[in-house]
């Protein structure tokens, strides 16, 4: 019951955040210089044609009315038409979101399964050579720009070694389309197509690794410092005195209390990657929403930009909600204090 109330409060807060976001993005989109109608029609269009399109888009109406129309559309789940693709924004986002989601999920997965163990290793051998190696790797992976790593991987794995494909999600003319969830790997499993799963994995690997490096470095560093904090706690000393074996102490008694900071950071990274994946998506020609968002921003395609921002916002809020629940699962103190408030 307490828990439901906590959840309800979080959902209400999230709604407020999203309303605020819709206002901010609406104002910013209109404050940016440049006329969307003129940009869509090109320099050769006549003044009448431009005025016509402005009227069609509703750009001649007062700004408050424009916002009202936008919100009404939003409430109906209608994001309007894109000037760039001349399709409903809903369709564009539906087609591209899954690709970005798959990429980001893979990224977060890689960052976690590599970053957390690296952090544990570094903390266990603090100030010895494994720690130094991990710290150097973590720093380098955190400061290497993702586009640089993307190009490097593309050249190495694609053009020099010829072991992995460098563009797209699946081979051209491959007779498989992700039709259930939009995620190639999941849909391949659902459809019982191991060949499609393997191909999807091969195409996913390079962009995901390029995108994961920075987050992995971050995870390793945070896990390390959190583990070191916990390792000097009395309860770790106590479990040593009671003869609990070393690996249980490290992997259970130390890791779990240390896990909240990395988990929180992972949540933030997860959500921001949805928007920031565009560099990697462009380099690997990954048909994702982040790349779509960038193209529409450059075209001042207002409906599409606002659509992408709103979807990213909803996603951000959802991911953070899930992370909060996970934090409560990992650390009972959060759960118990939260329900007592």
């Amino acid at each position: 019951m307490e828990f439901l109330r906590f959840l309800l409060r979080r959902v209400l807060w999230s709604l407020l955040v999203l309303i605020g976001l819709s206002m901010v993005i609406f104002i910013i989109a209109r404050a940016v210089p440049g006329d969307p109608a003129r940009m869509a029609l090109g320099p050769t269009a006549t003044q009448e044609q431009v005025a016509d399109l402005q009227k069609k888009l509703g750009l001649d109406r007062p700004i408050v009315e424009q916002y009202g129309l936008f919100v009404v559309g939003l409430a109906h789940g209608d994001l309007g038409r894109s000037l760039l693709t001349e399709r409903p924004v809903n369709d564009d986002i539906r087609d591209t979101f899954a690709a970005t989601l798959e990429l980001v999920l893979a990224t977060v997965f890689i960052a976690m399964v590599l970053g957390v163990p690296l952090g544990v290793v570094a903390a266990y051998w603090k100030d010895r050579w494994p720690d130094n190696v991990v710290r150097i790797v973590a720093i380098f992976s955190a400061v290497t720009p993702s586009f640089f790593l993307a190009l490097l991987l593309q050249i190495l794995a694609g053009y020099v070694l010829h072991i992995l494909p460098t563009t797209g999600r699946l081979p051209p003319n491959f007779d498989f389309a992700p039709s259930h969830t939009g995620l190639v790997l999941i849909d391949a499993l659902i459809a019982g197509r191991p060949d499609a799963f393997l191909e999807g994995l091969r195409y996913l690997l390079l962009p995901a690794v390029a995108l994961a490096a920075a987050t992995m470095g971050q995870m390793a560093r945070i896990t390390r410092s959190s583990m070191i904090d916990v390792s000097s706690q009395d309860y770790i000393e106590a479990s040593r005195a009671f003869g609990v074996p070393e690996w249980i102490r490290v992997c259970k008694y130390m890791l779990r209390p240390s896990f909240v900071p990395p988990l929180t950071i992972l949540g933030l990274e997860f959500a921001s990657l949805i928007g920031n994946a565009f560099v990697v998506e462009l380099v690997f020609a990954w048909p994702g929403m982040a790349a779509y968002g960038i193209r529409t921003i450059l075209q001042k395609d207002l409906n599409a930009v606002m659509g992408v921002v709103m979807v990213s916002g909803v996603f951000f809020v959802l991911v953070n909600l899930v992370i909060d629940l996970l934090v409560g699962l990992v650390d009972p103190r959060v759960r118990i204090r939260g329900s007592r408030q």
Binding site: D234, A238, A241, V244, P245, Y253, V330, P332, R333, I336
Partner: protein
């Protein structure tokens, strides 16, 4: 006293930090006969905690190193036996009661989880094994022995759901899990209020007497010494400066340092301490 259960012989420990070596224990001798109640008293920095950690094998080496001496348990030297044998003794036959109930329990696991993990590995070291259900039974049994009214509820709880006194009882229960013969108590209850501490000490004393355990009480509190021990060692600057049966020590302390410790105990009758206790370096 060669028949002592635990006998610390001429133990010297030093700490090396930034290339400088500092002696911390200088030839400490201490005996805990079976079923006896011994106190080791001293101010902060006197070396009582280092003595305890040396016995339990909890010293971090480096920076610490044991430069000479022996720690005999049942006549066998803990310092020269194999790591495995030593762990078997320190995690089953002798047990620690930890000092601070607020920080000595892992906050993210239930009491049942923590206690049955300890039991599982203690059993394994002794070459026994129990099913999960039998382990749980033993956990509940020990929780009841430390006078916990609702053992099931306590076992299901996370530490944050329990009061300080209850957590301290859990720490005592943890020490009793593997049926040790020697309890080493590191100032249990200092972190609690006076009434609760008195209850905890009473409980500890009852348990030790019921079971015929040997008790080594490490404390800075002479009130605790008087309550819980028959024999006292007084430590100062890494040396045992005086040892005597508890009653004798309070009646006629031989060393100035001991006298100043006794005088420093606040009394309700209004007398102020005769002189300040000489501070540790």
């Amino acid at each position: 006293m060669s028949e002592a259960l635990l006998s610390v012989r001429d133990l010297s420990v030093e700490f090396t930090t930034y290339g400088r070596t500092q002696p911390v224990l200088r030839g400490v001798n201490l005996d805990v006969p079976a079923r006896s109640h011994v106190a080791l008293v001293g101010e902060s920095g006197s070396g009582k905690t280092v003595t305890m950690k040396s016995i339990m094998g909890l010293l971090h080496m480096p920076p610490a190193s044991i430069s000479s001496g022996a720690i005999l348990y049942d006549g066998r030297d803990l310092l020269t036996m194999s790591r495995r044998e030593r762990l078997k003794l320190t995690s089953t036959d002798m047990s620690m009661v930890f000092q601070d109930p607020m920080s000595s329990l892992n906050p993210v696991f239930t009491i049942a989880d923590q206690m049955s993990t300890i039991l599982k590995y203690a059993d394994r070291r002794l070459g026994r094994s129990r099913s999960g259900r039998e382990r749980m039974q033993r956990v509940l049994e020990v929780l009841a022995q430390v006078r916990m009214r609702e053992p099931e509820r306590v076992a299901r709880s996370y530490p944050i759901m329990l009061s300080g006194g209850m957590r301290q009882r859990v720490l005592i229960a943890m020490a009793l899990l593997s049926e040790p013969r020697l309890l080493i108590a590191d100032e249990p209850g200092t972190a609690l209020d006076v009434t609760t501490q008195a209850q905890i000490l009473k409980l500890l004393k009852d348990l030790v007497e019921e079971r015929g355990l040997a008790l080594l009480m490490i404390t800075h509190n002479l009130g605790v010494v008087r309550e819980t021990s028959d024999y006292v060692y007084v430590m100062h600057k890494g040396v045992v400066v005086e040892e005597a049966p508890t009653a004798d020590l309070f009646a006629s302390p031989k060393v100035d340092y001991t006298r100043s410790l006794i005088d420093a105990v606040p009394r309700l009758t209004g007398a102020r301490p005769a002189m300040p206790v000489e501070a540790a370096p």
